[in-house]
Amino acid sequence: MKTITVRIPTPLRAYTHGADEVRAEGATVADAMRALGDAYDGLLAQVLTEDGEPRQFVNIYLGSRNVRALQGMRTPVAEGDVISIVPAVAGGRA
């Protein structure tokens, strides 16, 4: 199990009690996102489809790379990695 940091975009901080980043554990991006969902009720449905893939207009970055360009949700993570949840919507709220 690797401990990684997940950066939370402003519209989703209501689910993390205001935290802009949280810790999660797992061997892959999917594991880390599942752990995030277990810790913060309702958050995962905002980010992933029922199939566990990023929703349209939602990007998940591992470091500076979009996981869609890596191995998707099966991309392995290393200790200390940073995952960022970034909407592909720049205007509008927050």
Partner: protein, 339 residues
């Protein structure tokens, strides 16, 4: 001088000199006067309701933002805001930024745009192509952070920047009051012989809803003004959800105009955009949201004429993957397989 020598000489001249006097009037004249098109709807779903929309993607900057930016910029030039080489500064998620950059280039006004780092690549590259400066903010902190950064820069360097501030600039809504709304009324008089019963828009800066809503209400006091409200995450480009604690409400938005708010998800908006492609229209998600809300209203069978705006082009969203789910009809694919 031989023709060859003249041609060589012209190559050495600045492009503005070759093209003639470039005072920007040509491109300013191309802003607005967009077509009003009637959108097809099934009679079963809509009864006698007719739905019309202003096709704003035909503006030279590809979006409705050309209208307020043209007015804000020309008024600022007339007021001498750029004396001493000051730059126009504003925040934008892209469409207004493109309009500022394009018209700034045409009118020789240097432009700086603060934009979140998750603005689509198409937008960033067009803003840069026109020679504007980009200040890119952390996408995790969202659009409001970019907005605050623009305020901070303007406050710290008033000698360097004039902050246009599309969220409070009165020329924003006035561009829609005098332009968009009057065009709409004129075109509807010819195409439907009546002012609209309902106007559907969204709230980004609030300029369109406030300007068009005010003008329509003067002509028809009982016109119903409906705001399409996006889900909070991931949201719909350019639309504010309003109503949540911490949401920024644009200063120029006249909320008293809004009779009804219809919630629209991003999935609803994108599905409608895909549906509109079958009518030959290629528009962005906010346009899809407006048409989705308009069809919900049409289904009530209470209105004769509903109007809305198609704010921008779908080409601006290719890099977001928005169109990657759009496919040819399955029957067509099956036929192709047989070959």
């Amino acid at each position: 001088m031989s023709n060859f020598a003249r041609a060589r000489r012209e190559q050495d001249l600045p492009i503005a000199a070759v093209m003639g006097a470039s005072d920007g009037r040509g491109i300013l004249a191309a802003v607005g006067n967009t077509p009003l098109i009637e959108l097809p709807m099934s009679v079963k779903a809509s009864g006698r309701t007719r739905l019309f929309a202003k096709l704003e993607s035909v503006n030279p900057g590809g979006s409705i933002k050309d209208r307020p930016v043209a007015r804000m910029l020309t008024r600022a030039i007339e007021a001498g805001r750029f004396a001493g080489g000051r730059r126009l500064l504003d925040s934008s998620s892209g469409n207004a930024g493109i309009s500022y950059a394009m018209l700034g280039a045409a009118l020789r006004v240097p432009v700086t745009i603060v934009v979140p780092g998750n603005a689509s690549r198409e937008r960033m590259e067009r803003i840069r192509a026109h020679g504007a400066e980009l200040v890119i903010t952390d996408p995790i902190e969202g659009y409001d952070f970019a907005l605050r950064e623009a305020h901070r820069l303007a406050h710290e360097r008033p000698d360097l920047y004039w902050h246009c501030d599309q969220y409070s600039n009165e020329d924003n809504w006035r561009a829609h009051y005098e332009g968009t709304a009057d065009e709409l009324l004129f075109q509807l008089a010819h195409q439907a012989e009546t002012p609209p019963d309902v106007f559907v828009a969204g709230v980004g800066t609030g300029g369109t809803l406030t300007g068009v809503g005010r003008r329509l209400r003067e002509v028809r006091p009982d016109v119903r003004v409906v705001a399409a409200i996006p889900e909070t995450f991931p949201g719909i480009e350019g639309l504010k959800p309003l109503g949540h604690p911490g949401d920024i409400v644009p200063k120029l938005l006249d909320e008293s105009l809004i009779d009804e708010r219809i919630r629209v998800t991003l999935d609803d908006a994108v599905a409608m955009c895909n549906r509109l492609t079958r009518s030959g229209l290629f528009v962005g998600p906010s346009s899809g949201a407006f048409v989705h809300a308009a069809l919900e209203l049409a289904a009530r069978k209470e209105y004769r004429v509903i109007v809305t705006v198609l704010s921008d082009t779908g080409e601006r969203y290719v890099s977001t993957g928005m169109w990657s789910g759009a496919r040819a009809p399955s029957a067509r694919r099956s036929k192709a397989k047989r070959h």
